[in-house]
């Protein structure tokens, strides 16, 4: 049993469990599933800077910080108690393309060549970590939500603006992964 749980979980198990978070949060206390709002509440709590967008009672949304705390804790548990002893399986085509850019680490879920403090001091790492993070924070708020808020909560509630957002998330991702990222990885 434990050995099975240490192996990567199939998509349907993950999909069902993530889908059940929607009713769990609603029934536990009328909370709508989403995560990018944390960044906004962090701004409202730490640097409101007299910006109207950050002037609200952020303490009413602290539940979202507690939720994120759980995600962090759950990841620690999974990485220690349920760690997969095998290297990560990557599609051979992707693996070959990445090898051409010197990305060969398959020991963890993130390649060390890109996700490390050393990488932060390279142009490539700087663009991917600082630039990528900035786009995630700016874009999710501009769109009014992220993958959990729009793609899962919004679509579950049949909101068509969320469908628009989900489609543009995917379009942006396709453009970056296929046409821009190869140039960045080559830096």
């Amino acid at each position: 049993m434990l050995e099975t749980m240490k192996q990567p979980w199939p998509w349907y198990v993950a999909g069902i469990l993530i889908g059940l978070i929607v009713p769990a949060l609603l029934i536990l206390g009328n909370k709508h599933f989403g995560l990018s709002a944390n960044f906004r509440h962090a701004c409202a709590a730490c640097f409101p800077s007299n910006i109207n967008f950050f002037k609200y009672e952020w303490k009413k949304e602290v539940w979202n910080f507690f939720f994120v705390l759980g995600i962090f804790g759950g990841a620690i548990l999974a990485a220690t108690l349920l760690q997969n002893p095998d290297p990560i399986v990557v599609h051979p085509d992707l693996s070959k393309d990445l090898a051409a850019f010197g990305i060969n680490d398959r020991s963890g879920i993130l390649p060390k060549e890109l996700f490390s403090f050393e990488s932060l001091f390279s142009v490539r790492g700087l663009i991917m970590l600082i630039g990528g993070g900035f786009l995630v924070g700016f874009g999710s708020r501009y769109a009014g939500g992220c993958t959990s808020g729009h793609a899962i909560m919004g679509l579950s509630n049949l909101q068509w603006p969320s469908l628009v957002a989900t489609i543009t998330f995917m379009v942006g991702g396709f453009i970056m992964a296929n046409w821009i990222l190869p140039f960045i990885l080559a830096l």
Partner: protein, 175 residues
């Protein structure tokens, strides 16, 4: 009907309503509850988060490789995860509405329709670019730190800076 001749009073906006208006601005997930609880009641969301975090790691949803495979159409995995989650979520919301399910505190569960604005297009595209770069959307970032990749804390700080910049420029951006 005696109501026909009576005037309908304009709803008075309380400070609480106005706060909700700002809080729910450009934000999908909001606290719809009107009940005040002691702060430690929030640990129930930590429990839900722990399950979510374990799933994130074990189904490799937080892996940069899986996100690249998704956008390169090399794997069905992420489509399967998101697709199943939406079906289960939609079915749950449907049942909650149909049977008017209440929260564990007896409160009616509220839904507010979301309005369309151009931000969902421009912002969505920018978010998508960032998603493929970092290989993570906001939730997975926190899980990645939990697995011991501490440099992601820098990505989180950058995302907070991005959100702040959006708030700063909000009035000048097309919506």
């Amino acid at each position: 009907m005696s109501q026909i001749n009576t005037f309908v009073e304009a709803p008075v906006l309380t400070a609480d309503d106005r706060d909700f208006e700002v809080r729910s601005l450009d934000t999908m997930c909001v606290n719809e509850s009107h009940i005040q609880h002691p702060w430690w009641y929030n640990f129930k969301y930590t429990l839900v988060g722990i399950i979510f975090g374990i799933v994130f790691v074990k189904a490799e949803i937080i892996s940069w490789f899986r996100i690249q495979e998704m956008f390169r159409l090399q794997s069905f995995h992420m489509y399967g995860v998101i697709g199943t989650a939406v079906v289960v979520g939609a079915l749950s919301v449907f049942l909650i509405k149909k049977f008017q399910v209440k929260t564990i505190h007896g409160e009616a569960i509220e839904f507010h329709p979301k309005k369309f604005n151009k931000g969902q297009i421009y912002g969505g595209l920018l978010f998508g670019l960032g998603w493929a770069l970092t290989g993570a959307c906001p939730g997975p970032l926190f899980a990645q730190i939990g697995t011991g990749v501490f440099v992601i804390a820098v990505v989180v700080l950058s995302a907070i800076a991005g959100t702040w910049t959006y708030g700063y420029l909000r009035d000048k951006l097309p919506h």
